[in-house]
C-alpha cells in the first residue's frame, strides 16, 4: 500500500511541476529564452496569498484571485521592462543573465519585505482526505485538487492553443516572428499574453505547492523552478503534452527515489534520469527534431 501512496504523492508533486513546466515551455517556445525568474514568480504568488490570508485576515478566495492577478501583471511587466529590449540582442546569453538578475531581484524584494524566516503557509484546499481500502490508503485533499487542477489546466491550454485565434497567433510567433508580423499578428502583444498565461499558471502552481509543502521562504520557488524546467526539457521543450508528461514523471521519480533509495540523493537521481533521456533522445521525449539546412 505504501507504494501506491508514494506513487500518488509523486503524481501530485509531478502535477505541480507540470503546471510550472507548462508556463516554462510556453515562454520558451515563444521567446526562446530560459526564464530563470519563473520560479520566483511562484514564490511571489505564495507571499501574496500569505499576506492576504494570514496577515490581513481576509478571505482565502480573495487571496487566490489577487495572487493570480498580481503574478500576471508581474509577468507582463518583467517581460516588457527586462526582456523585450534584449529580444534583438546579438547573444541569447544577454537575456538569460538578465533573467537571472530578475530572479535575484524578486528574491531580495521578498527578503526585504518578509524577512528570511520561514512562513507557514495555510493550505488553500479545504477538501477532506479520502480514505480508501478500508483506511489503509489515505489521499489528502491537496493531492486530489492538485492533480485535478493540472489535468484541467493542461486540457484548457491545449484547447486554447489549438482552437483560439490568440493561441494560433502564439504558434505562429513561436515558428517565425518575422513571418507572423507580416501576417498582421501583433508579436509584442502575443508574447505579453504568453508571459501573462505562464505567470498566472505559476501563481496557481505556487498555491498548490505551498498547500502541500507549507514552508515559505524567499527561495521557495527557486528549486521547483529549476526542476520544472528540467521537466519541460525532459518532455521536449516547447511541447505542451511534453511538459505535462515530463512533470508527472519527474515528480514520480523524485518521490520514489526519496522513499526507496535516499532522500539526499533524490535530486541527483532526477537529474541523472534527465541526462540519460537527453543522451538517448536529444530533444526530449516529445521534442521535435530540428535539422539545420545546409
Amino acid at each position: 500500500m505504501s507504494f501506491i501512496n508514494y506513487l500518488i504523492n509523486g503524481i501530485s508533486l509531478g502535477s505541480v511541476y507540470a503546471i510550472i513546466a507548462l508556463g516554462y515551455t510556453m515562454v520558451y517556445g515563444i521567446a526562446k529564452m530560459l526564464n530563470f525568474a519563473h520560479g520566483d514568480v511562484i514564490m511571489i504568488g505564495c507571499y501574496v496569498v500569505f499576506t492576504i490570508v494570514s496577515t490581513l485576515n481576509l478571505p482565502m478566495w480573495l487571496g487566490m484571485i489577487l495572487s493570480v492577478v498580481l503574478c500576471t501583471i508581474l509577468g507582463i511587466t518583467i517581460e516588457a521592462v527586462a526582456y523585450r529590449p534584449l529580444r534583438q540582442a546579438s547573444s541569447s546569453l544577454a537575456v538569460l543573465i538578465t533573467a537571472i538578475g530578475v530572479s535575484y531581484l524578486l528574491q531580495n524584494v521578498a527578503l526585504l519585505i518578509f524577512g528570511a524566516n520561514t512562513k507557514s503557509f495555510s493550505s488553500v484546499v479545504t477538501m477532506d482526505p479520502i480514505k480508501l481500502a478500508g483506511g489503509a490508503l489515505t489521499i489528502k485533499g491537496e493531492t486530489i485538487v492538485t492533480i485535478a487542477c493540472c489535468i484541467v489546466i493542461m486540457i484548457a491550454l491545449t484547447l486554447f492553443v489549438n482552437k483560439s485565434k490568440a493561441g494560433q497567433a502564439m504558434l505562429a510567433v513561436s515558428e517565425d516572428k518575422g513571418a507572423a508580423q507580416l501576417m498582421g499578428i501583433n508579436v509584442n502583444a502575443t508574447i505579453s499574453l504568453t508571459f501573462a498565461i505562464g505567470s498566472s499558471l505559476a501563481a496557481v502552481a505556487g498555491m498548490l505547492l505551498c498547500s502541500s509543502y507549507p514552508a515559505l521562504t524567499p527561495y521557495t520557488g527557486s528549486m521547483p523552478g529549476i526542476k520544472a524546467f528540467v521537466a519541460a526539457v525532459f518532455g521536449g521543450i516547447g511541447s505542451i503534452p511534453g511538459a505535462f508528461i515530463g512533470g508527472i514523471l519527474l515528480g514520480i521519480i523524485e518521490i520514489l527515489s526519496k522513499s526507496y533509495i535516499s532522500s539526499q540523493l533524490a535530486d541527483a537521481i532526477v537529474f541523472m534520469v534527465l541526462i540519460v533521456v537527453l543522451v538517448v533522445k536529444p530533444t526530449g521525449i516529445l521534442g521535435k527534431k530540428i535539422q539545420e539546412k545546409v
Binding site: 530563470f36 546579438s90 546569453l93 538578465t98 538578475g101 524584494v109 528540467v230 539526499q264 537529474f271 543522451v279
Partner: protein
C-alpha cells in the same frame, strides 16, 4: 602579421593588469589600508577570476553554454583537499604537497569534464546548458552523501553515514558527508592565487592563438563549415571543455585550501555559483578574458562595498546587474551609446572602433 602583434600586445596588457593590481594590493596591505574583511576575500577572488576565465573558454571560445561550472570546481576542491588531508603528516613540505594538490585538482576535474563531455557535448544550446546544470547538481549531491575514513586497515568508503564506515577507534573520518572536509591545510595565499591566475591566462591565451584554438573557434562560428574543412568536432569540443573543467578544478584547489571547513553547500558549489561565474563572463564580454577578470573583481567586491547598506545590498546588486545588461546588450542602448561615443571621440573615432571590435569578439 600586424594582427598577430596586436593580439600579443593585448595579451601583455592583460598580464600587466593582473601583476599591477597585485602590486598595488600588496602595497596597500603593507600600509595597513586593507580591512581584514577584504583580505579574507582575496583568495576567493583569485579563485573566481580563474573560474571566470576558464568558463569563458567554454562559453566564449567554444560557444557552448555551461551552467555546471561550479561542479568541476567542486571536484577539484574535494579531490585535492582529500589528498592534502591524507598526506598532511606524511608530506611535510607544504609547497610540495600543495603543488601535487594542484595537479590532482587539475587532472581530476579535467577527467570528469572529459567523461561528462563525451556523452553530452553533442547536445545543443539550452539542452547542453540544462544537462551541465544537472551534472553540477549531481556532483554536489554525491559529495554530500560521501563518507570516507581511514584507519590502520586502509580507506573505508560509504554513502550512508559515518558509522557505517566501520572505522577502528583510532581511525579518522576524512570526508564526513554533508560536513565535508575539516582541517584542510591552509596552503592558499594571495600570491599563489595571483600566480595561478597568470598560469591560467597563459594557458588559455596561448591556446586561443594556436592551431587548436582556431579549430575550436571555427566550431563556434560555424559547425557545418568546420566539418567541411575536416575539423574533428568531437575532439575539439572535448578538448575545450576538458581544459575549461581542469582549470576550474585548479580554482577549486585554491578555494578549498583557504577554508578550514569545506562543505558542498548550494551556495558555494551549486548552480547559484555556476550562474554567478556565468554572469562574470557575460558581463565582461563573451570571449574577452580581460573583461572576465574585471567583472569578476567588480562583482565580487560590489556586495562587500555595499555592506554598509546591509539588507539592500543584494537588491542593489540585482538592479545593477539588470541595468548593466540592458545598457550593454540592448540594441537600442548600444545605438545610443555609440552615438554618444562618436560625439565625444570625434577625432579619435578610429581608435574607439578598434577597441570596441577587440572587446566584442564573438558577440554576434
Amino acid at each position: 602579421m600586424k594582427n598577430y602583434l596586436v593580439k600579443q600586445k593585448d595579451n601583455l596588457i592583460t598580464f600587466g593588469m593582473v601583476i599591477g593590481a597585485y602590486i598595488i594590493v600588496e602595497i596597500l596591505m603593507q600600509a595597513g589600508l586593507i580591512s581584514s574583511l577584504l583580505k579574507g576575500l582575496l583568495v576567493p577572488l583569485c579563485a573566481y577570476i580563474i573560474l571566470a576565465v576558464s568558463l569563458n573558454v567554454t562559453v566564449g571560445i567554444l560557444g557552448e553554454l555551461s551552467l555546471g561550472h561550479a561542479g568541476f570546481m567542486c571536484v577539484g576542491a574535494f579531490a585535492s583537499a582529500f589528498f592534502s588531508q591524507l598526506t598532511k603528516n606524511s608530506i611535510s613540505a607544504d609547497w610540495l604537497r600543495f603543488t601535487i594538490a594542484l595537479i590532482i585538482g587539475f587532472v581530476s576535474a579535467g577527467i570528469i569534464g572529459f567523461l561528462i563531455g563525451m556523452p553530452v557535448l553533442r547536445l545543443k544550446g539550452d539542452y547542453l546548458a540544462i544537462v551541465t546544470l544537472a551534472f553540477g547538481e549531481i556532483i554536489k549531491n554525491i559529495i554530500n552523501v560521501l563518507y570516507v575514513g581511514r584507519d590502520s586497515k586502509g580507506l573505508h568508503i560509504s554513502i550512508k553515514d559515518a558509522v557505517s564506515l566501520g572505522l577502528e577507534p583510532d581511525g579518522e573520518i576524512i570526508i564526513n558527508g554533508a560536513q565535508g572536509i575539516t582541517g584542510t591545510p591552509k596552503d592558499s595565499t594571495f600570491t599563489i592565487g595571483v600566480v595561478l591566475i597568470l598560469i591560467t591566462l597563459f594557458i588559455v591565451l596561448n591556446l586561443i592563438k594556436s592551431r587548436d584554438g582556431r579549430a575550436i573557434m571555427s566550431i563556434r562560428d560555424n559547425v557545418i563549415a568546420a566539418e567541411s574543412v575536416g575539423i574533428n568536432i568531437t575532439k575539439y569540443k572535448l578538448l575545450a571543455f576538458s581544459i575549461s573543467a581542469a582549470l576550474a578544478g585548479v580554482a577549486g584547489v585554491l578555494y578549498s585550501h583557504n577554508l578550514n571547513s569545506l562543505m558542498a553547500t548550494p551556495k558555494n558549489f551549486g548552480y547559484n555559483m555556476s550562474i554567478m561565474i556565468l554572469v562574470f563572463v557575460v558581463l565582461g564580454g563573451i570571449g574577452n578574458m580581460r573583461g572576465s577578470i574585471i567583472s569578476a573583481v567588480i562583482l565580487t567586491l560590489l556586495p562587500e562595498l555595499l555592506r554598509g547598506l546591509n539588507d539592500y545590498r543584494m537588491l542593489i546588486y540585482a538592479i545593477v546587474l539588470i541595468v548593466m545588461m540592458l545598457f550593454n546588450w540592448a540594441p537600442a542602448a548600444r545605438e545610443y551609446r555609440d552615438k554618444l561615443l562618436s560625439k565625444i571621440n570625434f577625432g579619435k573615432k578610429k581608435t574607439v572602433e578598434a577597441v570596441e571590435g577587440g572587446n566584442e569578439d564573438g558577440n554576434n
